[in-house]
Subunit: 338 residues, 2 copies
């Protein structure tokens, strides 16, 4: 009988630097700062109100919300840094190596609900986890228009693709369909919007880039492109930083283009109706929302993402050939935007 | 080695009659009919629109919705009867005997969203399941006011208690706290309303009346009162019928009392805000909603329960001592109403 010391293959290959948590949480705070500053500049009149909070089990956050701004009817940008004795089952099911370990998680998330129905809603979330032998980055950015404009979707995707391409030639190709498949309302058989990028469980290990649970284009593309080589913690952190920096250049020009467009009650009613899908997604599927609610996060900060006013109407179908119908038939379909 | 024929103890003790499905589904249909007729009478001008639908995997339903009625801004009453190859994990986790068996389920559910903020929202759902060796009844009725009136809560509870007491002296004592604990928003640490009754997994077996997953008053009361004797299928069906018949007498007088009350923007804004809690409960916790979405039910029928217009506001707190604050501090607390 031989006894061997088991070295953890994951940690041994690719450990985070000693100051990883400090550096990532500083970046997440600075991302919140730069986004809020940029959005106040864009909005013109609205300002963010800040609440800091502590989580009884460990850690806390800094929530910033704008209500009744010039452009943004409601916008929330949240930074949090939490730790605790164990991750919830929704995560350890997908990352069994993390089970039974204490964890650290930090991230910045944002949802904006503009008043003008021609200005799309946008969501951003970047996050970093450590739990025992493992660490990973996750997050993404996606756009949810109420009326479709190809040039908006193209601009957003091109900006995100450029950020991805600076780091790995496969990132955009896999993270774009991952976003399409993640922000999907199964009970509606409907995409949430025109997508963007989404990734999770990026720990730098060589192998499949796609680490999701679904079969589909993201998984197929990841398999077709083949395994990626090991990536260092530094390389992934640099990627997350570039993704964060891409937000304002990706979204700002879209707001400036759409905000001057006139709208009336018809457009407003459609926007309120479609906001219902946003609520359905966030409460039924969203990993960040479920993580927050399961780990005793601050409810007001987690649900800051919900729209200010929402409408549900039974069995509503927009008039065929209308711009509202076109959103569904043309824009909410997976397609090449960049 | 001996081989014995295993008789199933549950089915052997208390089998349903041969025409159980036919009788229960007829009752559920008739309950939908009588509720809709009663509500049209109460509303005065609104009428129900009916959609029948089929579920590809088996079964179907009859959805009825009223929009923009005289009293009811939106109201949905749904009958469904579905069957399939297996129940979803959300149910078999609690009823392991049902796993691996085909199932049959029928039920009627209803949610009403009145326009006048002084008229409370109400929810009803009664359901019946068969799966392999087991069958059970479940359901309940609960009231969600926007402004609290003790006489309304008392009237509703007294009416339900009387229906319960006709069938078993322990029913109301256990099903009342079960309702308080089931219609609870954990992430808000808040009751949904002033309760009513709720029960599940009532299969007539002798033993604990409470068959839920939580520790709390319902479980403690059930243990304190001791095990109940076996109850026949007929007895439980008669109880479900009496519960259904109690709805109009329980709710109608409340509507008639509150509908004449004047209201303005302040009351409307509070109602829209509180409706957000209803959405949060239904999408995050409600067993019926999750069952429907997991079993490929008709989404428009399942989500018919969502309010017509809803508002979310960040970190909103009503003025202390106001009627709005009183709802939270006085009415949304478990208490004796009957």
């Amino acid at each position: 009988m031989t006894t061997e010391v088991q070295t953890d293959p994951i940690a041994a290959l690719n450990p985070p630097p000693a100051d990883a948590q400090t550096r990532v949480s500083r970046f997440m705070r600075e991302l919140q700062d730069s986004i809020c500053q940029g959005l106040e500049g864009l909005d013109g009149t609205g300002t963010f109100r800040e609440d800091t909070w502590e989580r009884p089990e460990g850690g806390g956050g800094r929530s910033r919300v704008m209500e009744e701004g010039g452009i943004f009817e409601k916008g929330g940008v949240n930074f949090s840094e939490v730790y605790g004795s164990q991750l919830p089952p929704s995560i350890t099911r997908q990352r069994p190596e993390a089970a039974g370990h204490t964890f650290y998680a930090t991230g910045t998330s944002m949802v904006l609900h503009p008043r003008n129905p021609y200005v799309p809603t946008v969501h951003l979330n970047y996050r970093y986890f450590e739990a025992g032998p493992v660490w990973w980055f996750g997050g993404g950015l996606d756009l949810t228009p109420y009326y479709g404009f190809a040039e908006d979707a193209q601009h957003l995707h091109q900006t995100l693709k450029a950020a991805c391409d600076r780091h790995h030639p496969h990132y955009y190709e896999v993270f774009k369909p991952w976003c399409d498949e993640y922000f999907y309302l199964n009970h509606r058989q409907e995409m949430r919007g025109v997508g963007g990028i989404f990734f999770d469980y990026q720990d730098g290990q060589p192998g499949a880039l796609y680490r999701g649970e679904q079969t589909g284009t993201a998984k197929e593309t990841s398999e077709r492109l083949g395994p990626v080589a090991a990536r260092t913690w530094e390389a992934l952190f640099a990627f997350a930083q570039d993704c964060g920096a891409a937000f304002l250049p990706a979204y700002g020009p879209i707001v400036e283009r759409r905000q001057p467009m006139d709208w009336g009650d018809r457009e407003r009613q459609w926007q309120l109706y479609r906001r219902g899908r946003y609520v359905e997604f966030n409460l039924v599927y969203d990993r960040g929302t479920i993580f927050g609610l399961q780990t005793n996060g601050r409810t007001e900060s987690i649900l800051m993402s919900l729209p200010p006013l929402v409408r549900w109407q039974y069995d509503h179908h927009p008039e065929p050939q209308s711009p509202e119908a076109e959103l569904l038939t043309v824009f909410l379909k997976p397609q090449t935007w960049a």
